[in-house]
């Protein structure tokens, strides 16, 4: 609990949000990097379909997305069964895992698009040159691609993080709003509004607004200065 302008603010949802956003960002970078690389190198017209699929969360209502994730990740559903088969225990939804999964889907375009653009901007010749100097694929990836797409990774990570922080619909559906476990800031703001605690809602909203603005300015600053494409 924190006292701010005479109003006590429960910090647990903030920490949880930051934690989930951090984990989501890591997961997104781990999954998004190969996906973005693959997309960057694709030439076929499937690429258009894949790009559209990745971008889908940008235009779908989050509650709709959340509702279907809820159905797909149902503990008796096929996805969970499949994972059980590999020794997975526990449940995908209504836990931090659920929050992370939901956020990963929701923030996917924000992570994949800047990475893809960064990868596309790496001149093929540099990779060719490395290949003639006896560097294999992974060697080239880590010694040439990664250092040269630093800014792409940074933009990707900050956008994914910020977007997860601002996430509401999916998280509410998939997470279940359990205090300390799945209640994130955006839901908390809403609970405050519901229970007529407008002061707390205002304070949390202001914090979120300032945070988002800072993150975006960072991203666009990098973008201007280093020519990383965003979004």
């Amino acid at each position: 609990m924190l006292e701010l302008f005479g109003t006590s603010v429960n910090l647990a949802p903030i920490w949880l949000t930051l934690e989930v956003a951090a984990i989501t960002t890591v997961v997104l970078l781990l999954l998004g990097t190969p996906l973005a690389w693959w997309m960057a190198k694709m030439r076929s017209s499937n690429k258009v379909l894949l790009e559209a699929l990745v971008a889908l969360p940008l235009v779908l209502p989050p509650t709709v997305l959340g509702f279907y994730l809820l159905i797909v990740f149902n503990p008796t559903g096929p996805v969970t069964e499949f994972l059980r088969f590999f020794g997975f225990e526990g449940q995908l939804t209504f836990s931090k895992t659920g929050l992370v999964i939901g956020s990963v889907f929701y923030s996917l375009p924000f992570a994949v698009q800047p990475l893809m653009h960064a990868f596309e901007a790496i001149p093929q010749r540099l990779l060719d040159a490395a290949a003639t100097m006896r560097a294999g694929f992974l060697d080239r990836f880590f010694t040439i691609v990664v250092p040269l797409s630093q800014r792409g990774f940074l933009v990707s990570a900050t956008l994914a993080f910020a977007h997860t922080v601002g996430e509401f619909g999916v998280v509410l559906m998939v997470g279940g709003n359990i205090p300390g476990q799945t209640r994130m800031v955006s839901i908390d703001i809403f609970d405050h509004v519901e229970s007529l605690e407008y002061d707390q809602a205002h304070i949390l909203s202001a914090m979120m607004l300032i945070f988002s603005l800072c993150v975006l300015m960072l991203v666009y600053g990098l973008n201007r200065r280093f020519g990383v494409k965003v979004g």
Binding site: F67, L70, I71, F73, N74, P75, T76, Q91, T93, F94, S95, L172, M173, G176, N177, I178, P179, G180, Q181, T182, R183, D191, V193, E194, S195, L196, E197, Y198
Partner: protein, 231 residues
């Protein structure tokens, strides 16, 4: 023990107060997840880890029993919501029906009659007293009773059917401001808010204890203080 309990959003403050008392007296822990009743139902149906479900109506609670998730014999009505007509400027305390009949206001806020019992009862009452057609064009539907209340509080609707609980709460932004009129309980079918224990909660001491605790006079006192009736 710790119990996770899903609670209809309108009951947020009340149940938090009961919960604190409960934790102090029994040493059990309760965690509340708030949300629209339909969404909570969808979550429970898809494996949400809730030990008990305090809804805003009866229908969706009993449906959980039908689905084999809720335990039918644990079902009871823990509160009856009271509808109040609130306005900041119209003399509703004395002349509610006249105000409704003249219908000089631009917007009358209610909760969505399709999804929220408060809205449904408000519409039924208006139909019963023959005023529905006169105000039909001016109705605006909040997604929940809290949302309907926001419309009134923010002045977007001059008048609205809200829950009495939202007016009598000392923290409420309209506490002792404006005027309200409690629609007599005899005029509409009671808004029975039902609670049910889930299969998951059957073995949870905290959940079962809480179900009982809500029926104790101490709890009832709190419920009534927040503007609900208890049978």
């Amino acid at each position: 023990d710790t119990a996770n309990i899903a609670v209809a959003a309108n009951f947020t403050k009340t149940i938090e107060e009961i919960g604190q008392l409960f934790e102090k007296e029994t040493g059990h822990q309760v965690k509340f997840s708030f949300g629209p009743t339909g969404k909570l139902y969808a979550q429970i149906k898809n494996g949400a880890p809730f030990d008990a479900f305090f809804g805003a109506d009866e229908k969706r609670l009993l449906k959980t029993a039908e689905d084999g998730i809720g335990i039918e014999k644990s079902y009871f009505v823990y509160a009856q919501g009271q509808i109040a007509l609130y306005s900041a400027n119209y003399p509703v305390a004395e002349h509610a029906l006249e105000v409704l009949k003249e219908a000089k206001f631009n917007h009358l806020a209610i909760a969505n009659p399709k999804t929220a019992p408060y809205g449904e009862r408000a519409v039924a009452y208006l139909q019963k007293v023959g005023l529905y057609d006169g105000v039909k064009a001016k109705l605006v539907n909040g997604e929940s009773i809290a949302h309907a209340f926001q419309y009134v509080v923010t002045n977007n609707a001059e008048i609205g059917f809200v829950a009495l609980s939202q007016l009598v709460d000392p923290q409420s932004p309209v506490y002792q401001k404006g005027q309200y009129w409690i629609v007599p309980q005899s005029e509409y079918k009671p808004i029975n808010q039902g609670a049910i224990l889930t299969q998951r909660g059957a073995n949870n001491a905290a959940a079962t204890a809480f179900m009982e605790f809500v029926k104790t006079p101490k709890a009832i006192e709190i419920i009534q203080r927040y503007g609900y009736n208890v049978q």
